[in-house]
Symmetry: C2
Subunit: 407 residues, 2 copies
Amino acid sequence: MLIVQKFGGTSVGDTDRIKNVANRIKSYYERGHSLIVVVSAMGHTTDELIDKAMALNEDPPRREMDMLLVTGEQISMALMAMALNAVEVPAISFTGGQLQILTDGKHSNARIRDVDTTRLKEALAQKKVCIVAGFQGIDENQEIMTLGRGGSDTTAVALAVAIKADQCEIYTDVDGVYTTDPNKVPAARKMSHICYEEMLELASMGAGVLHNRSVELASKFNVIIQVRSSFNYNDGTLVVPEEQIMDMEKVTVRGVSLKSDQARISAHDIPDKPGLAAGLFGKMSAASINVDMIVQSTGDQNKNTISFTVPAGDLSQARSVLEAFLAEIGGGRIAVDQSIAIVSAVGVGMKSHSGVAATMFQALAKENINIEMISTSEIRISVVVHKDQSRKALEAVHRAFGLGGDA
Amino acid sequence: MLIVQKFGGTSVGDTDRIKNVANRIKSYYERGHSLIVVVSAMGHTTDELIDKAMALNEDPPRREMDMLLVTGEQISMALMAMALNAVEVPAISFTGGQLQILTDGKHSNARIRDVDTTRLKEALAQKKVCIVAGFQGIDENQEIMTLGRGGSDTTAVALAVAIKADQCEIYTDVDGVYTTDPNKVPAARKMSHICYEEMLELASMGAGVLHNRSVELASKFNVIIQVRSSFNYNDGTLVVPEEQIMDMEKVTVRGVSLKSDQARISAHDIPDKPGLAAGLFGKMSAASINVDMIVQSTGDQNKNTISFTVPAGDLSQARSVLEAFLAEIGGGRIAVDQSIAIVSAVGVGMKSHSGVAATMFQALAKENINIEMISTSEIRISVVVHKDQSRKALEAVHRAFGLGGDA
């Protein structure tokens, strides 16, 4: 089989861990598999490089930041190739530039456009393990680009697509994707499967296991990803197309997530005019404020209320934008609540099952948890609750959908 | 003026030093100069990377070692560009690959063949300072190559040649090239000038200030190098073609050097056959043993003695090679002396002055220092003395040629 494996920063955190990973790769190699291995920077290397940069320039040019950060993956890549050669597995490393991992020209957040597989195929034909620096590419002017934090996942999926790999494994420090955060809900269970859409919704709701673009790319080309631990040989979680989830594995809710460090802003008594929401959230977007849930309601006398949530760090900026907007349209008063959290239930099964929202609301009511806002998508229900009740809410929803233990 | 400046590892040892260098570059930039700046890896970065490699593989593939080590210069380069941008000097960094610094395909010790100056010229035309990663290049297959330790000097000279720079400055942690090592002889004086040939002879005799290939390259293209300190604004030492040294600066001996950690091996009573030396030193060369001084003498009864010096670290291997050789030709006995050092006097003035050797030998005799071996080139006289007398010998020779103080 042709397998792409990606090892994250924790998995290659020091030379001992690199040796462990080399031995794992060797066990695959000896079973006759062809291997392409994508590596991230070792442990805290990226943070240390950023600290050095900040000591010299608090607003460094993005191009130079990319030049700096790609060295982290290059160090891992060369060391991994050496570790493999030391255990008699022929290995060769490649930078993004050497593989012509072609991206657009957006420094620090580039998107992969194309990968030239010539050198990989040559090396594989010579029975070599290919080690590839994750997170990096080049544009058509040979400028060095990075793919954004977590971008090595995307490198792995892009290589799997380009070379038509049979498998794509993303190694990390947890056993797979869990029904919810096991640090918060001990009953959380590792999923055997999850589909792309569910993974994306969970990630956007705060359960970050895979880089979002890697899931989008996998979804586009139907690449199955296995998320698993580099510290044991347990089966991980398969991220698959929806239609590949067998009926018996189909559940209405796949997982629940908790997003903390959020704030809610409400504007009351604002004049009811067409295009109000478009105007406000256009300005928020222009200020790069990441608005999450939005609820609009019409009160009496044609006065409106708009409430929305933002990350706590964006609160003061969001408030300024809102104040300016209200001054412009004439009227409205602002209320802010920083004691909130968002609990979400995600599952493609919701599309064909009714009553999911009702089950969730009943579970919360039973625990006397007040729901302050509700928003839904086709495969997600999110509620805003008081921060102090968020852990209890997460547990209640997790239990209500039978996600705990061996259920 | 178009100036190439190279800053060594000590000069960019930490972020504070990088800031200092950035301010120095800024002062040149503000005087209207066009600048190309070559940087080495920060301080001990290269050694730390080598330690990591050794922890994984005691004999790492040279290709992967090159992949690893080039990251050191890449980090310096990006940080320097950031530091310059922070003090409002527009700067852009380039890897060896981006500049197409084309080398032969010899990993860890590649030679530069060509440099494409297109991108440098574009950036200079935009009034940007160009920061270039030293020590690295690529071959025609885009394989990453390093130029050997100290190779950043060669990068600087090669860029100066390619872009026809007006000046080439090599910044280091000393004020220039000294008549001898000031740590050993306090009377040592900084030279204002030295010619290429003298610099090469002194370097090969243990006074390592510049990478040898950088001097060879400078000599070939008549590039004048200034060696100076990055910690002050003192004039350094100019390394120039012989004909540019004015008459009044002409001296018979430019500098003296001491090479310790040497061993002498002698083979006595070996049969006198033609091709003996060629046979023996061919084998030494094949074993990559770096033989320095060689003296052959014919004794009575057609028996020969051959003595030669090698670095102490090569002694046991050299002895084995010699033993095998003597067994082959039938005869001879071996003597080894590890208590030696080599003192050399270097100067192009020797070519036209007689009596230099006599002055040197008299100076040593006066101090009761026994000369154990002598070897000469056109511009160098080297003697082997007992290790315990080496410091005294160095001082005596330095004084005898009037090199100390303000002389």
